[in-house]
Amino acid sequence: MKTRHVVSVLFVLALLLSACGGAKPATTVKVAILAPLSGPVPTFGVSTRDGALMAIDEWNAKGGVLGMQIEAIVEDSQCTPDPAVAAANKVVDTDKVHYIVGEVCSKASIPISEIAEAKKVVQISPTSTNANVTLNADGTTKKYVFRACFIDPFQGAVAAAFAVKQGYKTAFVMYDQGNDYVRGLAEAFEGAFTASGGSLVGKESYTATDTDFSAILAKVADAKPDMVYLPDYYNIVNLVMAQAKEKGITMPFMGGDGWDSADLNKVAATGGFYTNHYSEQDTRPIVAAFVSGYGAKYAGAVPDALAALAYDATNLLLAAIEKAGADDATKVAAAMEALSYDAVSGTITFDAQHNPIKAAVVLEVTADKIVWVDTVAP
């Protein structure tokens, strides 16, 4: 007992000494939040800022990180390269931050990531899915840059895992060959589904301007697969699924977050499943706590995926700082690589390219609403 007291006193003294020993005593840890509060996607920016600030407030209420309070510096980066670069330079050079949470859009996150690499500042983007956010032009990983969202093709693997869990043995894939997003998901699904024992009974491509899917759907009806994978955007999904009903096609369709739109025709798409980053209906306690906390903080608002991912990104960053034990970007980046954190959007670890490995939610479309079904790890 006594020895432990001595050790803690010594530890506190050591901390105080080290704090006093520096030229400038650091009393706070500064975290910059770069969010598109104006520009093309201001609602994304507001959700991102609110989610990140909520995480910081929770840490401060618990005593901060490394015994220091956390100071948030919010800048508007407008989802546009030039303002994003200006904001990143300002927070790094003037405010001397070592950590950036942001941006939402890949086209703003990529130029910020170059500044972060050059000035040795840790950046974690909550929602930018472009591979080049965390990768250099030569394919090597940027040492200081991470993201909290999974990249697009990952959803294909999650969909395959869900399909296997549902007991589906055969699948038919429909994809737009001219769309990288759709093709990436389709290929990832095909690879993961066949690797886990499923078989593909058909694979057909179409183009984005097609409206008549009757020829492909007649083949689907003929092949009688257990499910159809259609990882396209909601407008194509609306057309395909309305026509599928006329072919007497009853097997479930499945897609990715391209389905996630208020304009999805829920009547036509009834019975379909899609993967997404997060659902506020997820029954895990951490999600319920996040949703109720967010509502209490922001006048009853229901957090969307952007708020959830910004919350996760900020928590990941602060957990990495805590784990590194020092307000030092290089050590924090190393700690982040080895981190395993239980976040709202699933338990997150990072792969070699600084993309998170985590679960995705599977949602089901019913005639009047979207229902959370499962949270699936690939």
Partner: protein, 374 residues
């Protein structure tokens, strides 16, 4: 050395070889033979699926025919390729959308006489919606003709063509404004519930959610409405052109405008009527297309318009039976190549057929070899 501009008929074998039309013939025969082999091989294995695909091609062909007729009629009478025609088709689809989703026009009879069978009142309601779209499009086309084409009737033909492209863009991007049609995809509400039947040893209604027996051919009330409407309108058009005074005047104006005028025909009036009839058909086509493929957007007319234009050229532009034949060929070529050869290649195959047919018959399948009138 004699300058031969290709007017004289080739006399010798070597001259014929040099002229090169045989290359197109050989390629056309090769392509058709390959397509017939690729389709036929699989059709024999699964005849019901083949019938299903042919039906899909018919449905598409009927809609293309509705648009192609307007292209061919307008070209026949004023030698103008009316590129705004596909956008008139789009307006037809949107008019029916507003009539159905905002005004509930398809329910007017059901609300007036609730005792009637639902099927009958919805049928009358659907026909009313189609008629409204036809009238609106006819009116729109007459306005377009008066404002944009008539002042250019004596201008070089290229001016009218460029104007037509301008009108097309205007209709698209005016439609894309938030307070007009909006730039978004809009889910189209069908004016009647879909009912599907399957044919296997008789016709049976398909219960939603139940399995379709293997080897059956499906058809829906959507297909019936599309087929009946387009056949009815085609017969009506044929009647107008062949049997009425207006039709005779149209043919006279198409044949020789100055002489028709000398004979006391109101040439401008007849041209307006031609535009109106063509646009009315496109408007009906727009409604049918939206019912079949229920998601509409302001640029939805571009691709079907282009395909229908190709169909009109394939059949022989200026020829009404040619437009119908061309549309049927386009519908089958697209659907069968998607079904049996390659989905991404389907447009390539459809257009390759067009090019090869034109190499062999530059005036199209049923087009007349006519001399340019001075």
């Amino acid at each position: 050395m004699q300058t031969n501009l290709g007017q004289a008929a080739p006399r010798t074998f070597s001259e014929r070889m040099l002229r090169g039309r045989w290359i197109g013939k050989v390629m056309l025969v090769a392509l058709l033979a390959y397509a017939a082999w690729a389709v036929g091989r699989q059709a024999v294995q699964a005849p019901a699926l083949f019938m299903e695909q042919v039906k899909n091609g018919l449905q598409l062909g009927f809609v293309y025919a509705m648009i192609a007729l307007g292209y061919t009629m307008v070209y026949g009478i004023v030698r103008l390729i009316n590129f705004a025609h596909g956008d008139v088709f789009m307006v037809g689809a949107f008019v029916s959308y507003f009539a159905i989703s905002r005004v509930n026009l398809h329910l007017w009879l059901a609300s007036l006489m609730p005792g009637l069978p639902e099927g009958l009142s919805l049928l009358v309601g659907t026909v009313t919606v189609i008629l409204l779209a036809m009238v609106t499009c006819a009116f729109l086309a007459v306005v377009i003709e008066r404002v944009a084409y008539k002042p250019l009737r004596t201008a070089p033909r290229i001016s009218a063509l460029i104007t037509a492209i301008g009108v097309s863009f205007f209709l698209e991007y005016f439609g894309a404004l938030d307070f007009v049609f909006s730039p978004d995809f809009i889910t189209y509400q069908r004016p009647f519930p879909v009912q599907v039947w399957y044919i296997k040893g008789g016709i049976h209604p398909l219960v939603p959610g139940s399995e379709v027996p293997a080897g059956s051919v499906l058809f829906s009330n959507i297909f019936i409405i599309i087929a009946l409407t387009s056949i009815f309108l085609l017969i009506g058009l044929n009647f107008i052109v062949r049997r009425t005074k207006v039709g005779r005047a149209m043919r006279a104006v198409a044949y020789d405008k100055p002489t028709a005028r000398l004979m006391g025909i109101n040439v401008d009036g007849i041209i307006s009527i031609t535009f109106a009839i063509g646009a009315a058909l496109a408007g009906a086509g727009g409604v049918l297309y939206a019912i079949a493929f229920p998601s509409i957007v302001f640029w939805m007319g571009i691709i079907p318009g282009l395909k229908a234009f190709v169909a009109a050229v394939l059949g022989g532009i200026g020829s009404i039976p040619g437009a119908f034949l061309g549309a049927m060929i386009m519908g089958q070529a697209e659907t069968l190549s998607a079904a049996y050869i390659s989905t991404p290649m389907r447009d390539a195959i459809a257009f390759a057929i067009l090019i090869l047919v034109l190499l062999v018959r530059p005036t199209g399948i049923l087009g007349e070899t006519e001399r340019e009138k001075a």
